[in-house]
């Protein structure tokens, strides 16, 4: 079983090499066959590993291939770690990855860059596998940089548009800032432990680091900075909404299901270090929660179908970090898993809609699509129910586990978490209702051409929909008669943290669950009333005072909604969007760039071209050096 492990990353790499070197010389059928086939091959091998880990024949195996870097006391092996955590991630990457590859074969069929697209996608799967399979931080970092590169290439896939290139660059730069933190964290780990192997680091962690010591906090914070870049957390999240410039399946695979969860994987992988730094966990908790709420509030009024999903992704990632900050590492991983299913499904469904409407992304120009695109509608509905957390859909269980963990810490955190969940429910149903209900608002031309997507696209949708329904059963909590299977599965990798808190009694858990479900249902009804019964459509961009229009309609519900809920949130949303995001976050980033470029402009004038002047500066330099030396 384990002797085939090397094939898992190697297959997609071979796919990339074949497609990359035979650019545009292959028929599309063969290209999609190679592209999907290699990932399918990896998936099959991963499944054998999965059954091995499930049956307990594999608990934790390190497989070394060759000495990668051997220098002084730095000894790094190219080796893979196969344990429940990496197998879980590998299953998601290859499984969801395979479905998205298949879907892409249909979605990208008309694109001139078909081969290039599959080559990059295969390269991405390879890098992502490297990231989760590595048994030391350097292999992880290599994969980490690899996925960043692929993300850059794929966001800017349609590079003829400048805006897309800018988006790609923004993503790259933001990620690099995060990577810097990761790199420094790695260096610090190496200087502290003398090794970068997970084995050495984690085994010695408790003896080398004391709880909440400066080094422990520094290491974990630096690594977390890396995670904020890759997983789009405050303050480095702004690249993700822009990253929607890439083809939609890319958004599904890279910017929803897999790459952006790399930060969470990294923190969970290092959970032993993090449990030694409760301070960092509190920071993560705060940032995760803030991101979850803040991004959800911004999602409320977006009109681009992919932008809504993008903010939703940022918010859900915040949710996962929230879980990690609570010390509920396995709940975080659980949410990663279910989120991969339903968010990939949402993006693919959105892609199907965009495909049907010939690249229309504005939901105000959609409506009434449920009859024309029945499969897309039904699957999208499933995913929406899953993300909203209606039992028994997948999202319910994972979200519930996080909320329960939050309540254990403090009811306030639970309430904030629930508020985020309700906002999510509201904007997701807004999206669903505006897109699929009511009457069609696009052009006649578009209406004429409306069509359901081909089978090659709808089959992945249906598979993912099935997973979104049943995916949650891997972590049914005890109170519902389950055994929290996933938690036990991961128990060998994740050390229990925060057990000092008392466990919730079953009755409390029942009450929490019922409350949150009822609140979610109430929110859905509210959205239904606003967007279906009252048929309101988000205002046009050029009528900024569109809110007044709604007031003119004099619907009682609208008015309540407007004054109690929408106005303050719109206001906050606008403030966050226009002040915090563009004025503070973006402006700081831009200001640094501008300062460098301005000082460059000035400093280069020091190069006057006059040799006497050069020598003069040199002599001044010597005098200064001798002078400094004499005073010190």
């Amino acid at each position: 079983m384990l002797n085939l492990v090397f094939l898992i990353p190697l297959l997609p790499l071979t796919g990339f090499l074949i497609l990359g070197s035979l650019n545009n010389r292959l028929p599309k059928t063969i290209v999609s066959f190679v592209g999907c086939g290699t990932v399918l091959g990896s998936f099959v091998i991963v499944l054998t590993l999965l059954s091995g880990t499930l049956s307990g024949t594999i608990t934790s195996a390190t497989i070394s291939y060759f000495d990668w870097i051997y220098a002084g006391d730095l000894n790094l092996k190219m080796s893979f770690l196969i344990d429940p955590l990496s197998v879980l991630m590998m299953t998601i990457i290859t499984g969801v990855g395979f479905l998205i590859h298949v879907y892409s074969a249909g979605y990208m069929h008309e694109d001139s860059g078909f081969v290039r697209y599959f080559a990059f996608l295969n390269l991405f799967v390879f890098s992502m596998l490297l990231l989760v399979m590595g048994s030391n931080y350097v292999v992880m970092f290599a994969g980490w940089e690899g996925v960043g590169l692929c993300s850059y290439l794929l966001i800017g896939f349609w590079f003829k548009k400048d805006a897309y290139n800018d988006a790609a660059q923004k993503a790259f730069v933001m990620n690099r800032i995060g990577d810097l933190g990761f790199l420094l964290g790695m260096i610090l780990i190496f200087t502290t432990f003398g090794s970068l192997d997970y084995d050495d680091v984690f085994k010695n962690a408790t003896s080398v680091l004391t709880e909440n010591s400066g080094v422990a906090i520094a290491i974990t914070l630096l690594l977390f900075i890396g995670a904020t870049g890759k997983s789009a957390q405050i303050p480095l999240y702004t690249w993700l909404p822009d990253a929607m410039a890439g083809p939609t399946p890319v958004s599904a695979l890279i910017h929803a299901a897999t790459m952006v969860t790399a930060g969470i994987y990294m923190v969970v992988r290092s959970n032993i270090l993090y449990s030694l730094a409760p301070f960092t966990l509190d920071v993560i908790l705060a940032i995760g929660l803030a991101t979850a709420l803040f991004a959800a509030s911004m999602g409320l009024f977006q009109n681009d179908i992919k932008k809504v999903l993008a903010y939703s992704t940022v918010s859900q990632l915040g949710y996962m970090f929230f879980a990690l900050g609570l010390g509920a590492f396995s709940a975080g991983m659980f949410h990663v898993t279910t989120h991969a299913f339903f968010k990939a499904l949402l993006f693919l469904g959105a892609g199907s809609v965009i495909h049907a409407l010939h690249h229309e992304q504005d939901i105000r120009n959609m409506g009434g699509l449920s009859k024309k695109l029945p499969i897309t509608f039904l699957t999208f509905l499933t995913a929406t129910l899953a993300i909203a957390g209606i039992p028994p859909f997948a999202g319910f269980f994972s979200k519930d586990e996080i909320l329960a963990a939050a309540y254990e810490r403090s009811p306030v955190l639970w309430a904030l978490g629930l508020a985020g969940a309700l906002m999510t429910t509201f904007y997701m149903f807004r999206l669903l209702f505006v897109t699929f209900f009511g009457t069609f608002r696009g052009t006649d031309e578009q209406k004429h051409h409306l069509h359901e997507s081909p089978l090659v696209m709808t089959i992945p949708l249906m598979v993912l929909a099935l997973l979104s329904i049943i995916g949650g059963f891997i972590g049914v909590p005890e109170v519902l008669g389950g055994s929290n299977f996933l938690k036990n599965f991961l128990s060998s990798v994740i050390i229990p943290y925060g057990e000092k808190h008392e466990h919730l009694s079953h009755s409390t858990e029942w009450i929490l669950m019922t409350t949150s479900t009822l609140a979610v249902i109430a929110t859905i009804i509210m959205a239904y009333v606003i967007f279906v019964v009252k048929k309101s459509v988000p205002a046009e961009d050029n009528k900024i005072s569109g809110l007044q229009k709604l007031i003119y309609n004099k619907y009682y519900v609208d008015e309540i909604y407007d004054t109690l809920f929408s106005k303050p949130v719109t206001f906050l949303s606008k403030i966050f969007h226009s002040v915090v995001e563009s004025k503070i976050v973006d402006a700081t980033v831009n200001a640094v760039g501008k300062a460098v470029s301005a000082s460059s402009k000035i400093l280069r004038l020091s190069q006057s071209g006059n040799i006497s002047y050069y020598l003069y500066v040199m002599v001044i330099g010597i005098i200064l050096i001798l002078f400094i030396n004499n005073i010190l």
């Binding site: 060759f66 000495d67 990668w68 870097i69 051997y70 220098a71 002084g72 730095l74 970092f141 290599a142 940089e145 690899g146 800017g156 590079f159 003829k160 290139n165 660059q169 730069v173 690099r176 800032i177 810097l180 790199l183 420094l184 260096i187 190496f190 200087t191 760039g593 460098v596 470029s597 000082s599 460059s600 402009k601 400093l603 280069r604 020091s606 190069q607 071209g609 040799i611 002047y613 050069y614 020598l615 500066v617 040199m618 001044i620 330099g621 010597i622 050096i625 001798l626 400094i628 030396n629 010190l632």
Partner: protein
Amino acid sequence: MSKLKENFNDKKMTAVIILSCLGIVSMLADIFSYKKALWYIVLAGVAGAIVANLNEKSNAIIYDMLLTDNYAIWFSTLILALVLLWFMVSKDQYESGVYNSSDNYALILFATVGALILTSFSDLTMMFLGIEILSIPLFILAGSNKKDVSSNEASLKYFLAGAFASGILLFGITFIYGSTGTFKLDKIADWANAAGSNLPALFYTGILLVMVGLAFKVSAAPFHFWTPDVYQGSPMFVTAFMATIVKGAAFAGFFRLFYTSFTSASGSWALILSILIAATILTGNIIAVYQSSVKRMLAYSSIAQAGYILLTVLLSNQEAKYALLLYIASYGVSTITAFTVLYHVEKIKGTDTFESFTSLSQTHPLLSVVMTIAMLSLAGIPPTIGFFAKFYLFSSVLKSNTSYLWLIMVSVAGSLVSVYYYFRVIIAMYGQHEPIISSEKKQIPAFYNVLLLLLVCVIIILGMMPDVLMSIDNL
């Protein structure tokens, strides 16, 4: 003559002797008209020198002037390998008819002799001679495009600045001699150890002046001003030679001197050197941002890289030797690759600005890929050798002395800035699309395609397994 033979039989200084003879053979090519075969002869000769150098008797002391320890042998090998590479990639420039290849090759070979001496000296006299043997041919080479005023100007600037810096270096050497009474590196070290912390002003002033002289050679701020002008004005491959081989040899010499003789006196120069390093990294990286010529950008980038490499001198320990070897190898290969691509682009488009790289990915996909890899390596992004070189360098600094954390932060900030200007090239090649003029479609000879692919493989393979260089024992 018998001495020479004795040396050969003893396997002492064989590489230096081979290269000197090769230089003379090269000068005679015009008279005996074997100029067409000259390139092959030189290539074979340099390859022979590499073999001879690897077989050099280890730890031989030659007239108490040179010491062929492992450090000398491996840095010489690296330099010779880069020279061999240089001869391969520069073939086109010297076949164009503008330059007389036999004179130019002879000068390059003589300069290489100086470079080899700089890696193996055990006496300040030899260090001075090495530097001069390395520099004087380069003054001429910088001006080898005789009709071009820029080339003339580069030559004169280099000459004046170089001669001035030599004067300061000599003044420093004299001070050291005055206080210690010897030119031998090991004896100076013994003297400094014996003197302990109570060093006379004459001695540490001498160290500082020597440091200034060498900082000039490696173009550290504020002694870097000549670099951009000279690099820009000189013919492309002369610039490549200066940026890689000359700089590598100067660093090898710098490190050898400070590591052998001045470690015990580090209190008097470490702080100043760390300030120079920070200034160099910031100046180089910041000014590079605003350049319009890629060649000049590479000049500033070489200043910035010099700042990183100087960190090894600051460390002056066993691990720093490996970091230095690795960094020079990484920087040398990546820079030669970048200059080769730049040469061909300039030849096709007529200029070396960033604009000349526009849409290169459409007309010359291979050149674009090669340039991308070279830029990634210079910026220090995995999986290239440049990443590992930087990583290893920074982590060895932090490991030996955490008080230099501020310097590492400056370095890392500098390399973040560098990503900007290196990526400008990549973005120009891939991001922008303009109508293509048919004259710009001219392809480069297949020989260079193969060579460039090979270079890319080296950059990536070394990046994957740098332990090839790290496994040398007892450097």
